[in-house]
Symmetry: C2
């Protein structure tokens, strides 16, 4: 832990914030944030022609760009460590890594304050990256069978989030030592948006966009969460040049048994950290598969990397001596303690990361 | 014009940026940006129950939140002027106000550097605000007639953007004095995302969210663009308490003849600036209505405000002695010159805005 986490705990309300709960809860750090640069841009994208129907019926056939990846970034003033690229999970956006549901500093800003340039993306098909609406509009117009239409899907609060994200055994009831700020669960619900993954080509263009971004940055650590858990591995297999390390937070899968020995040999060159929270065996309320099953898949992956000579580790946060961490490691009350664990691992395992 | 626009013109490339065109073009200002606080949150939102079909078919009926408005913000260190809230137009997101397609500083950061706390939103139904997918999924499942389904729509490059945004007479051909960085038009195309307005209740919950945000901030200037042109007026009519001024950039409509005399009397208490670019009479390629028609609607509105004793103004940027400004005033090459015009107007017309 360092001064900033202490600063965060001794927060004050920003003047002018009044009645709305979510605004009132926004914390102002004691020290200003000094940035050399910040902004946003896109990686990738394809120019395609679409029909009037595909465009939604308001204008003639025309040209549009699809499958681009939105990136927002902050570069700290002064000496810099390795850039970090952060990718969110299903039915969420890059907002996952920003201000927490209860108004604390997110990992985006925290790591910038620790001298890392940080790039937060919206996956292709989500948030400000947009999605390709063409197949959806063809189905609505009856040009293709309804049954073939891609569908937007969402996690609900009861089964998609509360139990599946392991806040507690049922909606409104938290595990006694839960680290998620459950009083702000309704604020997390606002971060949940329709997931358009069924409209995204397979494999997701986000894989290549991440590889290209890491390469263009001259090297970066790829940090994934949940549904995007294996995206950094897929990115490294496309082009390992820029992928300096992988940090997978609560990955939905690591494809432990899927990769060939040749692929594992390549991935073993990339230092890899996999982190899970607590209560891995609790029923998810969403799928038969528990998070323990997902952990086991990743443990297989890590073991194969290690056997191939790689620097790879997997842990549950209970091994750090804390109980009750949820699926949302970057939003839990001890999120900065977990950030510090990642930071310390990066300092030990990423070449050139030391200050 | 001030030091920052000069700084922007004398840009340097950030070290580490390499092959991707969009990354290479990102400019690094000469002076660091010093923030007291930054982050993101949501305003509004409704908790609703949805069926398995409405949720996209992957999980049982559950509770979700819809119609919330995403807000990202930066608060400068030091003395502060009035907060600004920026709302984007159709088929776009809050990205409109960030880094320009050719990599220059956007209005979001520029106004923060001029001492304004700035809040950039994604309209309800767009970007990180998400949208309510229920009616779409009911139609795909055949529960409601296809014809009744809301549809996502997009602007195409030829008719939706190039001619309609008045870059030039046809795709790839710019007006000789065009101020839009047309060489980066493909980067603007990446900012274009499906517009889910047909899935948003009418009137848009964004109106109330803007009024609530302005009120919670203890007063703010609402800045709108294009399709959101009249949103600040609708917000003020719901609750004028926090709306200190309105700046409407290239509004799609001002509802000049629609408002009652009582409504005009209320709106006349809010200083209002309406700004349009050049080539207002050019064919849009998209609608019969030209931008001159839209200007005329707003001129009627401004005249009614003035007659009711309001401080209201409308101008085309040609009146500032510049030719060639497009629909994307905040992205044109002289975007900071236009920002300075807005800033100077705010200093003269908003109580408490002077430093």
């Amino acid at each position: 832990m360092n001064i900033f986490s202490a600063t965060l705990l001794a927060t004050s309300l920003t003047a002018g914030f009044a009645s709305a709960q979510s605004i009132q809860s926004l914390k102002t750090p004691e020290r200003p944030l000094v940035l050399q640069a910040r902004g946003s841009f896109f990686v990738g994208g394809e120019i395609v022609e679409q029909s009037r129907v595909e465009l939604g019926g308001r204008a003639p056939a025309d040209r549009v760009t699809v499958n681009q990846m939105y990136v927002e970034y902050m570069i700290p003033e002064g000496a810099k460590k390795t850039p970090l690229v952060m990718v969110h999970g299903a039915s969420l956006s890059g907002k996952s890594y920003d201000t927490t549901p209860d108004g604390r500093m997110g990992w985006f800003e925290y790591f910038v304050r620790q001298a890392h340039p940080v790039y937060v993306v919206d996956q292709v098909g989500r948030g400000r990256s947009g999605f390709n609406q063409a197949a959806l509009n063809r189905a609505i117009a009856g040009e293709t069978p309804r049954e073939q239409s891609p569908k937007p899907y969402r996690f609900g609060d009861r089964n998609g989030v509360w139990t599946n994200f392991r806040f507690g055994p049922r909606l409104g009831q938290a595990f006694p030592d839960s680290r998620f700020p459950v009083e702000a669960a309704n604020e997390l619900a606002k971060q949940s948006i329709p997931d358009m993954s069924e409209m995204v080509p397979s494999p997701s263009p986000t894989h290549k966009a991440l590889a290209d971004l890491a390469s263009d940055l001259g090297g970066a650590v790829l940090i994934s969460h949940s549904q995007s858990g294996h995206f950094p591995m897929e990115a490294a297999l496309l082009n390992a040049k820029g992928v300096q390390a992988i940090v997978a937070l609560e990955p939905g899968r690591c494809r432990g048994a899927d990769y060939s020995d040749e692929q594992i040999a390549l991935l073993a060159k990339v230092p890899t950290l996999v982190m899970y929270g607590d209560y891995l065996s609790a029923p998810t309320g969403y799928t038969e598969q528990t998070w323990q099953d997902r952990y086991n898949d990743c443990a297989t992956f890590v073991k194969r990397l290690s056997q191939a000579g790689g620097r790879a580790a997997i842990l549950s946060t209970t091994e750090l001596g804390v109980r009750g961490n949820s699926h949302m490691l970057m939003q839990d009350r001890n999120s900065l303690q977990l950030a510090e664990h990642v930071r310390s691992w990066l300092d030990k395992n990423v070449r050139g990361n030391e200050k």
